[in-house]
Symmetry: C2
Subunit: 461 residues, 2 copies
């Protein structure tokens, strides 16, 4: 590991990366380079005056370049000559600034090719790899997980890195792509396709620099093995302009992306929230065989809302079978109840009855999702053990059930006293295979998309 361009102050740039290697206790040697501070120590690391003077053993596996843009071609040449195969160029000031910057990128790429070194960036935050103890900023979780994220925005890479833990997932790697003069979206897609640590590949993409057909081919091969979720940024007119200003590229037409998704089984999402929800969905839920959804809730008004929102995003809320209705009637009176679907039992809608009904629904052939509403704050005020309550819900479906349990819960979280308990509810539901959404609309979108992915896979086979 070599970091070219460090200074003594704290802050952004090379010194920032140096701090992170220290923070994450990176196991290999770390060599800061700056002729100005040759022989001195920065943050406990000995500073080298040049790349050529660095030790040869062990070989250096990554160079992080944070020097003024104009100097970078020279630095890349030196790194290549030292035998470094891979460099992340943090520096900005290239094609995002216009013609002069484009020329500089060409020079950089030529030097890289001549010296057999691959480049990530320039103008990017680089890599977060918790297993390898590499992170692009402070205080990231050093826990590895099943999600890979490739981002054409450093801001979104940063935001996602911190959001994962809130939503209950961790990352195998996050890559901030930058200007993609060498390594690009396709390279990382290929890499994550065969990365055993990655179970779901996710991307923030504004535009495809090259290789549309190749991208489609790789996607087709990849979605057979693991889900690929793409958040496409820059959809309409002003969004296109924003992309142009951001990465200097032309945002692809969203219609083309939709058509590409149909061909490849890619799951498209529209924004950051949908991305996080879709990731959780692929990690927690089984691929639903049907759109059929049973809704159990308290009160006629909420039952109508849940039904409306499910239908608005493509789910079906079909009547349950007469057989199931008869079984339910054995313990719930018809008066003030709705026993067809949405199911709603008025004063008979307590937890015990809900559990009994869910067990009956597990046998319904035309349903794939059982949607309930939960309020952990009630459980807490009733002094119920969260683990026991959640397990009682999770166990309503058999081990080999093809159904998912979906819970709708949204707290304002306005009172401090409830936060621990709410966090426990989320943790326990995830552990037990129950996916909690903050609204029925969010749930319906995700379940529909997962069903659609399943549909694609079934049609391919």
């Amino acid at each position: 590991m070599v970091i070219v361009g460090v200074s003594k102050g704290r802050g952004w740039g090379g010194s920032h990366y140096l701090e992170t290697f220290k923070e994450y206790e990176y196991s290999g040697p770390v060599y800061p380079v700056n002729p100005k501070y040759e022989g001195e120590e920065i943050q406990g690391f000995k500073v080298y005056g040049s790349i050529s003077s660095l030790p040869d053993n062990p070989p250096i596996d990554l160079g992080i370049v944070a020097v003024p843009a104009k100097v970078t071609p020279q630095v890349i040449e030196e790194l290549g000559q030292k035998g470094v195969f891979f460099a992340h160029i943090f520096s900005s000031g290239y094609s995002e600034l216009g013609e002069e910057g484009k020329l500089l990128e060409q020079q950089l790429l030529e030097k890289a090719k001549e010296n057999y070194i691959r480049i990530l960036g320039p103008n990017c935050m680089g890599i977060y790899n918790p297993k390898g103890r590499i992170g692009f900023t402070h205080r990231l979780p050093i826990v590895s997980g099943p999600v890979a994220f490739v981002s054409q925005s450093g801001g979104n890479a940063h935001r996602h890195a911190f959001a994962g833990i809130i939503y209950g997932y961790n990352f195998s790697k996050i890559v901030s792509l930058g200007n993609q003069i060498d390594l690009d979206l396709l390279d990382f897609l290929n890499y994550f396709r065969s990365d055993p640590d990655t179970k779901v590949i996710t991307m923030y993409v504004e535009n495809l620099k090259k290789g549309g057909n190749e991208f489609v081919q790789i996607l087709k091969e990849t979605t057979k093995e693991k889900p690929v979720i793409i958040w496409k940024g820059g959809k309409l007119e002003a969004g296109h302009n924003a992309v142009k200003s951001h990465t200097g590229g032309l945002a692809g037409n969203i219609k083309l992306w939709k058509s590409m998704a149909r061909q490849t089984g890619v799951i498209l999402v529209n924004n950051f929230k949908e991305l996080t929800e879709m990731i959780q969905t692929t990690l927690i839920l089984k691929i639903p065989k049907t759109l059929g959804t049973a809704i159990i809730t308290g009160g006629g008004g909420p039952a109508v809302e849940l039904t409306d929102e499910c239908e608005a995003y493509g789910l079906k809320v079909p009547k349950i079978t007469e057989k199931a209705q008869k079984k339910i009637m054995e313990f719930i009176p018809q008066v003030n109840s709705n026993l067809s679907n949405p199911l709603e039992f008025g004063a008979n809608g307590g937890h015990v009855n809900m559990i009994k009904v869910m067990k009956i629904l597990d046998e319904e052939p035309h349903l794939s999702s059982i949607m309930i509403t939960n309020n952990p704050e009630w459980y807490a005020s009733a002094k119920l053990d969260m683990e026991v309550v959640v397990k009682s819900i999770a166990n309503t479906i058999s081990q080999d059930s093809d159904k998912n349990i979906i819970s709708i819960y949204n707290s304002s979280r306005a009172r401090k006293e409830t936060i621990d308990m709410i966090n426990e509810f989320y943790a326990k539901t995830r552990e037990n295979g129950i996916m909690v959404y903050d609204s029925p609309g969010a749930a319906a979108k995700c379940i529909y998309r997962l069903w659609n992915y399943g549909n694609y896979l079934r049609a391919r086979n």
Copy 2:
């Protein structure tokens, strides 16, 4: 005030209402009636054996009836003969159960007409009127506010009553309609239209029992004076079935409701969350004259997302004028910045620069909304005073500005330590006329709808 049908135990029904009159310190006399407990005391109130034996002075203004459905026609007759003009029938077991119940409703209505008494319900939770110290359940805020809510679902009435305070608004009155055999949606619309305490009228409606044309006429008159927000429940197929089971009515076609909204200026929303956001919007924001929105945020990726979401819901993100761009260039370098719209300043995007840019945008004629992103957790960690920070943002637009400041902020609220500070941020922004949304999509929907309402008003004049 008379409550017919009380028992000694705590719980639902008449005793429940008795408890609430005590809890809210209702100022008038309260007379529980039950021949079984004649002369005894329940919760400190003397129980009467019959309606006819109640004191004549002061006159009784409201009867709450919570006896078995079959007895209610007789009770209504007795209340009418005692000179009571208004009764809320809590009891259920009427048309929602079928033919027999429908007959009972007819009897009830005949008795009411014969005895000059108006009925709310049956089968409803009744009224929440904080000014009058009346509430349909425990622990409601006894603070009066500008929002009226008429609900065809007791569950949604209950939920909204508690949600208001979380979202920073209070209610003039909430009415749970029930089966509407006498007083209906139209009556309450008319009432709230001329209620000086009500600034915005909101409704949860599943179906219109009668008077479609009359409804349209009253709405047209009402929207001239105050906004009317309607959440229509039961939109598609299964939603219609859910409505049928809930209130026994046929859900009107959503297309008809949309056309009605176009004719009347009613603001339609799709779900509970949209309802609460739209209410806040009408209370906090000025009606925007244009769809033009300026976006200021940190980072290119977030700028693209905000732009995409604004455009997805109908807002425009036009370039700012060259004049304004030149003013901004005086203190923000063009390098690594986007100075057209969305505005994004890379490393130059601190609070002070944001404030300066907002002041320049206040002069832009083609913009009505200035959308920023805030993170109160940063303010707190930087030890900034929340009041000072929020005021510095609010004061960027002049007193007579026609623009709104919109803030996008969404916290996971996963850490207890941050809750007080986040709550303070919401309180201060509301006080200072800044509306905070949890996503740009939520913001865009609300601003578009408010603009559309303004458009309707302008076209009428």
